[in-house]
């Protein structure tokens, strides 16, 4: 049982999906999906503990050794991402218990749970697999279910958002396959470890560069790197609340992971960082993403959209760490994957409660919210502090490493930029605070009381995590540093 855990990690949620479709009853569906998500979380924790104690795990699917079979590989980096994805997947399930009945007709519930399981399986699969083509397959499993999940939103604009995401997401995935195809033509293997061994001889050859470019563009579309982020705000704004929270916390993060995998696991730090202008381009795009998306977020009329644009900016911080490309910078990237996932997850979960009670999250509906929904408002304020990066919160820890990395790389202007743009985050978080606490409620759209209790508990778990991982950072920082060292070749 234990030695098959890497496979079960993906197979259990994957198998739960058809089972849910067969059984159909909403409660049974919820129970099955929750059990699968919980299992995935426990499995991820066990795997992470094992990796921390014994080093990377290689699992041969169907006992076919690579390069013939597909290899599942759990190392310092993927274990970290697995825990994040599975953890968020588990936390959103109790939330869905109340939020899904409020947002979807009863006969669609089982479909939601089935898709949620598929999406989770896809994301976990992308993370755990050691085969470049297999990444594509899981990417599409996750993406196709995401398109449907977004289209389930109550607003008709959710349909258009899903369609746009489908077009752009498929272009991204196809670009990725083209890149992998070129690598395959060059090296004759799809196993990531083998690719990493054979590529150095071909470094600088034109097909290898083309492959790098295709993969970068493709994955950047998926992770919504500016200017390829256009699908994200609408998708986040109109999807059902629980879907937004889950996607914001995991989907783009796994794509960043894939990028890291290829940059540092396949092409190698030397080629990407030293001989190509990749890092320069990444820094430039990240800076533009951080500044413009933060400013655009500031002027949104809807809080959910504001948070969506904030995500684009925060992704900029994540990719900025890759661009800085030293140990602290990469630590910041991996940390921010995790910390921002937790923070944005908490925020979107809480905003879901507002949308449920007030019928939306426009700023006129937020007026006087501090009195109508005190726990939700306080939670958003506290998670907002993590978004800003106030000390004591998770967001601070990643920002600390990002600034440290920039200073160590001698790029003090990047450090200045990171701290200065935090002020824009202060401004948009405080727009909420002022609306909630310093504005008289609008009689017509006043929310009808606090969010349901299970939703609050799930949300506050995430809010608590924002602070837990800001004070007791032993797990996250150690994990991220190991991952960063591993990427730079310092760890086996």
């Amino acid at each position: 049982m234990l030695e098959h855990l890497p496979a079960l990690q993906v197979v259990v949620p994957l198998a739960a999906a058809p089972l849910i479709v067969l059984l159909r009853r909403p409660r049974v569906a919820w129970l099955l999906a929750s059990a699968a998500a919980l299992f995935a979380f426990v499995a991820a924790l066990v795997l992470a503990a094992e990796v921390a104690s014994t080093g990377a795990i290689s699992y041969h699917l169907g006992s076919w050794p690579p390069p013939w079979g597909i290899e599942y590989r759990v190392d310092a980096l993927s274990a970290f991402v697995l825990v994040l994805v599975a953890g968020v997947g588990a936390v959103v399930m109790p939330y869905a218990w109340r939020s899904i009945p409020a947002e979807l007709p009863r006969d669609q519930h089982y479909l939601f749970y089935a898709l949620q399981c598929l999406c989770l399986a896809g994301l976990l699969g992308m993370t755990i697999t050691g085969d470049a083509f297999n990444v594509f397959v899981f990417m599409e499993v996750a993406s196709l279910s995401m398109y449907v999940l977004i289209a389930l939103g109550r607003d008709r604009r959710a349909l258009l958002a899903a369609y746009q995401y489908l077009i752009l997401g498929t272009i991204g995935a196809t670009f990725y396959v083209i890149g992998v195809g070129l690598l395959y033509l060059l090296t004759g293997t799809l196993n990531i470890a083998d690719l990493a061994q054979r590529l150095p001889e071909l470094a600088g050859s034109r097909p290898a560069l083309a492959a790098l470019a295709f993969i970068t563009v493709g994955v950047s579309l998926k992770l919504a790197l500016f200017p390829l982020h256009l699908w994200l705000p609408n998708a986040y704004a109109y999807a059902p609340s629980v879907v937004t929270a889950f996607l914001a916390a995991t989907a783009t993060k796994v794509s960043v992971y894939v990028l890291l995998r290829f940059y540092f696991g396949v092409f190698g730090a030397r080629q990407v960082v030293e001989s190509l202008p990749v890092t320069g381009i990444l820094i430039g795009l990240s800076v533009v993403a951080i500044v413009t998306a933060s400013l655009v977020a500031l002027w949104q009329a809807d809080f959910k959209r504001l948070l969506a644009y904030s995500s684009v900016a925060q992704i900029g911080y994540i990719t900025l760490g890759i661009g800085i490309a030293n140990e602290s910078g990469l630590t910041a990237t991996v940390l921010h994957l995790f910390n921002h996932g937790v923070t944005k997850g908490a925020l979107f979960l809480l905003v879901g409660g507002i949308a449920l009670r007030a019928g939306g999250a426009g700023f006129e509906q937020l007026r006087g919210l501090g009195r109508a929904m005190p726990l939700t408002s306080l939670g958003i304020t506290l998670a907002g502090l993590s978004l800003i990066g106030v000390p004591g919160t998770a967001g601070f820890i990643s920002k600390w490493y990002l600034v440290l990395g920039a200073l160590q790389a001698g790029q003090w202007w990047l450090a200045a930029l990171v701290v200065a743009t935090s002020l824009i985050a202060v401004a948009y978080v405080w727009r909420f605070v002022e609306a909630a606490y310093l504005s008289a409620p609008d009689e017509r759209s006043a929310p009808a009381g606090e969010a349901p209790r299970v939703m609050l508990i799930a949300s506050w778990l995430a809010v608590g995590a924002c602070f837990w991982f800001g004070i007791d950072t032993a797990y996250t920082v150690e994990g991220a540093r190991r991952a960063a060292l591993f990427m730079l070749g310092g760890l086996p």
Binding site: G389, V390, P391, L404, V419, W430, A474
Partner: protein
């Protein structure tokens, strides 16, 4: 209790008090009792630490590692002890005053007020006892955030605007200047622990040290060094007990405390003097002292005048610390205490005048001393302390400051101190003069003193101001120990 337990109690008590206040929210008497009981217990705990510190010990508490190599930890050294004593002691008085003020003015959201007040005290104690820069920064930001609801207490447009300036400047300076300075210090020195003699010695060139010092000095926005002083007058929209908290108990004191702490324990007085990286600082502080005094002179609004007086007085501390001699550091530490007692008295008096007579402008105060003799008497004591005359605490710190200035031969600083003393007298004396010697302008105003708790509180702080002049031993011992005894 062991020292570590006492430290933990000092930090946990206000937090527990905040929870208790929130739970007792619907019953005002119980709620206020919880506040007072917490304040008294907290003061007792802080006092419990005093003998150990006076005996030369450094009580410590290590909680956990926040980042590899950087602990969330606490160390009680003399300066922190002094600050904690002032803050926790004045919290008791301030709570008594708050009860009178909030009830007499029928302020809304009183539970939120007391909860945030208790949280602010927790943050203040955290700052006072912090063992390294990161812990200090953590509680520094917490203090800004938990005082924001107090500043915007009234919830109207004015409060919103004031809150924006307050938060914008304090968070802005701390994130843009202070945080990079801390991270750069970590990158250079490999430690953030407060160490006597400093941690940056020999780790960077004089230019880099000078740049870092500038980042720290302007980054600690709570010290209100010009041009980042605007938040203090903006925060005057808050109820008066909050102003007292900002100006005397916690916020600005946390700022100058951090300044002294950084100069003494991060840069090191001798190291800083060695590379001559702080030569510009007395000039900036001196400019702030004089300019703020002039603005105060021109303000008719009483609270605004007091606010600019604070801006000016804070720079005394910065100026004293920037002179980089043992006597000047003693003066800096002493002035934190002296200013706290004097300024809280002045604000209490201003609040009492507002409560009893609904007057806010200096020009309205003609003859008020005859209706409110206790209040205006206390005000006079506070004013004397601000100017720096005996028998008030302000004289003490000014004495040490002047000694340091003369020792150092800083003639510019001497001129600044002289000019500002004259200016202080020029903007405080007319108030006292109006109150006692001018006839009341309007007839038929039948108001007397403010409610008893308020008068009791402001009398107590006035008495403390005088007492500190006659019994300076404890404060002096702690201040001297800070300076390297």
């Amino acid at each position: 209790m062991s020292a570590a337990q006492l430290i933990a109690a000092c930090l946990a008590l206000p937090l527990a008090g905040a929870a208790g206040i929130a739970l007792a929210g619907s019953r005002p008497n119980l709620r206020e009792s919880v506040t007072l009981a917490t304040a008294a217990l907290l003061f007792a705990c802080v006092l419990g630490l005093l003998p150990k510190v006076l005996a030369g010990g450094v009580p410590q508490l290590f909680v956990l590692e926040m980042l590899p190599g950087i602990a969330l930890g606490f160390r009680v050294e003399p300066l922190g002890m002094l600050f904690a004593l002032i803050a926790s002691g004045l919290w008791i008085v301030n709570s008594v005053y708050s009860i009178g003020y909030m009830r007499a003015n029928e302020e809304p959201h009183q539970t939120r007020f007391y909860v945030c007040f208790a949280l602010a005290l927790a943050a203040t104690l955290g700052i006072a006892f912090s063992a390294n820069l990161l812990t200090l920064f953590l509680f520094y930001e917490m203090l800004t955030l938990v005082t924001w609801p107090l500043v915007t207490h009234h919830g109207d447009d004015k409060a919103r605007a004031g809150g924006r300036v307050y938060l914008g400047i304090l968070i802005g300076t701390s994130i843009v200047f202070l945080l990079p300075a801390i991270i750069a210090t970590w990158a250079l020195a490999g430690t953030l622990d407060f160490t006597p003699g400093g941690i940056l010695q020999g780790k960077a060139s004089g230019t880099v040290i000078g740049g870092l010092l500038a980042l720290y000095m302007f980054g600690i926005g709570k010290a209100a060094l010009m041009p980042f002083h605007r938040w203090l007058p903006a925060a005057m929209v808050a109820p008066t007990p909050v102003s007292a908290l900002l100006h005397a108990v916690a916020v600005v004191k946390a700022g100058v405390f951090a300044v002294v702490k950084v100069i003494v324990y991060v840069f090191g007085v001798d190291a800083l003097a060695g590379v001559r990286a702080a030569d510009w600082l007395p000039t900036v502080a001196g400019f702030t002292i004089v300019a703020a005094s002039i603005v105060a002179l021109r303000s008719d609004n009483l609270k605004r005048r007091l606010a600019y007086s604070t801006v000016s007085q804070l720079s005394y501390v910065v100026l004293a610390a920037a002179l980089l001699t043992p006597v000047s550091v003693t003066a800096a530490a002493l002035h934190i205490a002296a200013h706290a007692f004097g300024k809280i008295t002045l604000f209490f008096a201003a609040g009492a005048i507002y409560t009893a007579a609904h007057k806010t402008e200096v020009s309205q105060l003609d003859g008020i001393g005859r209706r409110m003799p206790w209040t205006m008497g206390a005000f006079a004591v506070g004013a004397i302390s601000m100017v720096g005359l005996p028998p008030a605490a302000g004289f003490l710190s000014k004495w040490f400051l002047l000694t340091a200035v003369l020792e150092a031969g800083q003639w510019m600083a001497l001129a600044v101190v002289a000019a500002s003393t004259l200016l202080n007298a020029a903007y405080f004396a007319p108030i006292v003069y109006r109150a006692f010697l001018r006839p009341a302008a309007a007839r038929g105003e039948a108001h007397g003193e403010a409610p008893l708790p308020m008068v009791a509180a402001l009398t107590a702080t006035a008495a403390l101001t005088v007492a500190l002049f006659f019994y300076p031993d404890l404060a002096l011992a702690l201040a001297r120990a800070t300076a390297g005894g």
